[in-house]
């Protein structure tokens, strides 16, 4: 029977396919350009390559006039410049808040960055298709600005829009997962199920807040340092600029594990200072390049605690927009239907700039695991006091069967692994002490390593079915690499925008682009 050859046959690899260029770069002519545009960085490169060709930021020094070379002057150290305007504003491409945002300026900035990418890194001889990954929540005027730059200035024939959450999932080798994008202005947590975005929620606890807290911490430490080192220095201006805070965050920021955080919160700040805490000396001073400020290493983890985990803020002061990350992830998992929840909780994928902070992925996994273990999936956090004593009296009886509640919860799910619904129902029943304070001793008994081992055992136990019902973190290569994979596999996109049509009609007023 004659049949049209499948579209996929052409794209799949054959023994005759070349193993790729020397850098992993492929010299094929029809690879498309993959762009990932965020508020702080633009990544661009060709599909089929593991790394983007360029990662461009939007610092103020890039925004100067042509012929203004002051950024290269030896006197122009970044420490000398003071910030004007709100924190970090002159380092970002756009704000989510369009009030007071000059779209023309966004266009100018983006065009300059893209021109740099095209002229210095891509070196194309003819226009290529573009695979664009921008946040799905990006407001329409901004998306239109991006598209008009691509179509208007770079003669791109077709732009394919891809959702970063889906790309991140694909770049982790998964089909479903809970994608936590800890980005610049906000953290987006998206539940992806079979390559579909099922649920998304955001919080402002992300990079911007984090770098600001880092700046505050540095200022505080600097003042203390000056006060200690003598009266001469006290008059020194200890304003920490955005550049400094950002750099310190990228270089020295880290995240404590749950144990460390718990033990730290028990102690006073004063007493923890005296411990054997390696001092890290960093150059902060503006006055002379050689004077440095020594800061204990543990201090560099504090901004992460306050900014992302909202340590020190009572829960009732947190509003819907600034929930700490573990709580938000838990809330999303809770609101998911049972089957996706089982799958997603075993696939926590972390991405975004702040996810590179060492220790953060482990910590988030631990926190979410603790939350799930302590609260179950019961939407009610606190039962009326009448019920509680009865439940508490029943609790030890139930628990006597299993070694610990946590192991029971996991093993229950393992037992019912083939039926996710039953598994979670069991889990809920097995945790009757709802509203009881999370016991920190359990958390310290079961570090992440055992969790991973458990997950592995579970996987071996049932080889065919996907892992579900346990909390597990998975590494992803990121949205750009995901776009690069999808581009080279020719999977095609849901949303393709053609140049002619866009130039004629714009995005139009019809259905949304992501529809």
């Amino acid at each position: 029977m004659p049949a049209t050859p499948s579209y996929l046959t052409r794209s799949t690899s054959t023994p005759f396919a070349s193993p790729g260029g020397s850098y992993g770069y492929r010299s094929t002519e029809d690879e498309s350009i993959v762009l990932e545009i965020g508020a702080r960085y633009l990544r661009g490169g060709f599909s089929g390559e593991p790394q983007p060709r360029c990662t461009l930021a939007f610092p103020p020094d890039e925004q100067r006039r042509v012929g203004d070379y002051r950024a290269f002057m030896p006197t122009h150290a970044f420490r000398e410049r003071r910030d004007t305007g709100p924190w970090g504003e002159d380092h970002e491409l756009w704000k989510m808040d369009l009030r007071g945002q000059d779209l023309g300026l966004v266009q100018d900035k983006l065009e300059r960055a893209l021109r740099k990418a095209y002229n210095e890194h891509f070196l194309l001889d003819k226009p290529r298709k573009v695979l664009l990954s921008v946040q799905t929540g990006l407001s329409r005027p901004l998306l239109e600005t991006v598209l008009s730059v691509l179509f208007g200035s770079f003669m791109v024939p077709v732009v394919t829009l891809m959702s970063p959450a889906v790309l991140v999932t694909a770049a982790a080798g998964l089909r479903s997962g809970l994608v936590m994008d800890i980005g610049w202005a906000e953290t987006t947590i998206t539940a992806v199920y079979e390559f579909r975005e099922v649920k998304m929620r955001r919080t402002i606890r992300a990079g911007k807040l984090l770098s600001r807290d880092m700046g505050k911490m540095l200022e505080h430490e600097w003042e203390q340092h000056n006060a200690q080192s003598g009266s001469l220095r006290e008059a020194e201006d200890t304003h920490v600029t955005f550049d400094q805070a950002d750099e310190v965050l990228c270089r020295m920021g880290w995240c404590m594990s749950m144990e460390e955080a718990a033990s730290r919160s028990k102690q006073d700040d004063a007493s923890s200072n005296t411990e054997a805490d390696t001092p890290i000396s960093i150059p902060l001073s503006r006055s002379s390049p050689f004077s440095r400020v020594s800061i204990p290493f543990s201090k560099f983890a504090l901004p992460v605690e306050t900014a992302l985990f909202s340590t020190g803020t009572p829960p009732h002061e947190l509003d819907a927009h600034d929930q700490p990350l573990p709580i938000l992830a838990y809330t999303i998992l809770q609101s998911l239907p049972v089957a996706p929840r089982d799958i997603c909780m075993a696939r926590l994928v972390f991405t975004g700039g702040c996810a590179h902070i060492p220790g953060l992925k482990t910590r988030l996994t631990e926190e979410i695991h603790t939350l799930v273990r302590d609260r179950g999936w019961d939407a009610v956090r606190q039962y009326p006091p009448k019920i509680t004593p009865r439940q508490r009296s029943e609790a030890p009886k139930q628990r006597s069967d299993a070694p610990t509640a946590a192991q029971q919860s996991v093993s229950d799910e393992q037992a019912n692994g083939e039926n996710g619904a039953l598994g979670t129902a069991e889990l809920r029943d097995s945790l009757p002490e709802v509203g009881a304070p999370p016991s920190s001793s359990l958390g310290s008994e079961r570090p992440h390593a055992t969790l991973a081992a458990e997950a592995k055992r579970e996987r071996i136990a049932e080889k065919d079915g996907p892992v579900k019902g346990v909390v597990r973190g998975v590494e992803s290569l990121g949205a750009w690499a995901g776009g690069s994979l999808m581009g080279t596999l020719r999977t095609g996109g849901r949303v393709e925008i053609e140049r002619e049509k866009f130039m004629r009609e714009g995005l139009g007023n019809g259905a949304g682009v992501w529809g």
């Binding site: 799949t12 193993p19 925004q63 945002q101 208007g152 270089r251 590179h356």
Partner: protein
Amino acid sequence: MAQSFPYTYYSCPCYDASGAIPTSIAAKRASQLSAGSAQDDDEDEQTFDPQSSRANYSLFPIEHLLYCADCKQIRCPRCVTEEVLCWFCPSCQLEAGSSAVRGDGNRCQRNCLNCPVCIAPMQVSSLKPSVPNYQLSDEEARGSDGPWILQCLYCQWTSLDIGVHFEKISGIAKQLLDIKNGGELVPPQRERDKDRKLKIDLLDKRRHPDDYRPEERPKADEGKHLQADDAAPTEPVDFDEQYANLLAFYRSQLSREKSSNDHSRHSKYLSRLLSATGRARSNDTKARTMTEARNVDEGLTLVSSKFEALKIQRMKEGGWENTVDATQRLRQINPTVRFSSELRPLPTHLRTKRTKRCRQCRQILSRPENKVVSHRYKIKLLALNQIPRLSIRALAAPPLPFPGASLAPGITPFKYDSLSPFSTTQYLLTLTNPLFDPIKVTLATPSMTSGRIQSKITVLCPQFDVGANTDVWDEALGSGSARRGDAVAPGGPGAQAQAEAGKVWDKGRNWTSVILEVVPGRFVPKDDKTSAPEQDGGVDDDEDYLRSKGLREDEDVLEIPIFVRIEYETESTAVEDRERGTALSASLGNARGDSRGDAGKGKERREEAFWCVLGVGRIALG
């Protein structure tokens, strides 16, 4: 300003031409809300504001501008399209073939590498202690064997810092690909692919033993060493390796789906029929064959607390110096490196020679010669040859014989960096005409500069003529009238001249100078809104924030926007030229739009108009 005072910037008219791109109603509404474009409708009538944040993108020194002779407009780098003529390495000056370029990541594949710390070019040098042997020629000395290293001559970073040395002196960039940091060799791509295939096959046989014949099924202890079923690796998985694994995994998934479809062609045919009749497409085959990655070789890596703890430990022990800064990190091929021991030398980026075309009419504006070493151009239409050049200097400043010349001792230079507020300063604005026809110039400036420091500007003579750019000898050999400038208008430093309103200060063959009077304003930090009208009227919080914080960068620089309009008569070249001329004058909203020369004489009246920004100095504070 890195550009030293005084300076002139030209504004390319393309900055407000972005309206040509359609935007939906939503976008328009949003842009109306935003500050700068509130009066979009009468953009032409608006005074150019050099302080607005968008001005940085539309102002250029005249040397950077091209001129399209067909459109009769200035063309900036934003309004040209570019075509690559050839690729070359700026370091070794050798051309790279177009086919090889992209395969090598647009980087030089020879010995051109840049230092990862300071981006200076690196040198290949021998590790052997160099015995000065003057009998040996340079060639022989270099031919001496030994492990070779890369060395940065600027910051003294060597490839030994990351434990890398090379066996051969040639093709360093290629050799570098096969060496990991620390000196370990990377197994060739083919072996890695083979290894991965073995593991995955084994895993597949274990998972689906029924799909295989009994003799093909794996024995119980076969391939234990391959660790085929482990998603928690013993050492961190390389980024590129994981990518390759994932790519291979997805490829195999796609091909498996295809092959399974071949086996069950009938069912597929059936499902196609079903979908054609509107029934849901059967997902059975897809769901069975497409799975997610399950181990490292398929691309799945679990978050490992061990590796993260190791990283923290390294940060703790190594301290600040052990980590790389932001610029170094972004330059790396892998932009997620954290420690200085992970840095890699960077092969030099290739550069290109490009043809530039006008975006509107596709005419070539500049085309360099194809040869890499040649600096000549075949076509080069510079704005410099078409647009009058404005130059400005303080009248009190002693004239320099040429730009950049040092002053004679004893004469104090004019301090452009500290203009005293509220005192009148006179500037000499000189227009030089590059055209071969005399031009009529009309200048216009706002009487007050915008922004929070308001300075008063007066052009004493806003309308004047500038002579044609005739032969230089005309001036030298010409009659007294040509040298009238020197005789009549006493521009020399010795003469005590008074600037008079309505009169030009000085005049030469193809240049005319007029006086510009400037009264710099003063910055009052706690200004109320009546005396400092909100020119960018953004969000109130921001405005207050700025006011409390004092001046923004460069807010104290006194820049004068000036609108220059020139009119001249020239030989008409073609009919369409005239049409374009009319279109241009109409677009400028000129009242004298009908000022076309009569066609009988073949003369044509033309107009040009553009905004310039004159940077006249920095106002002293306090």
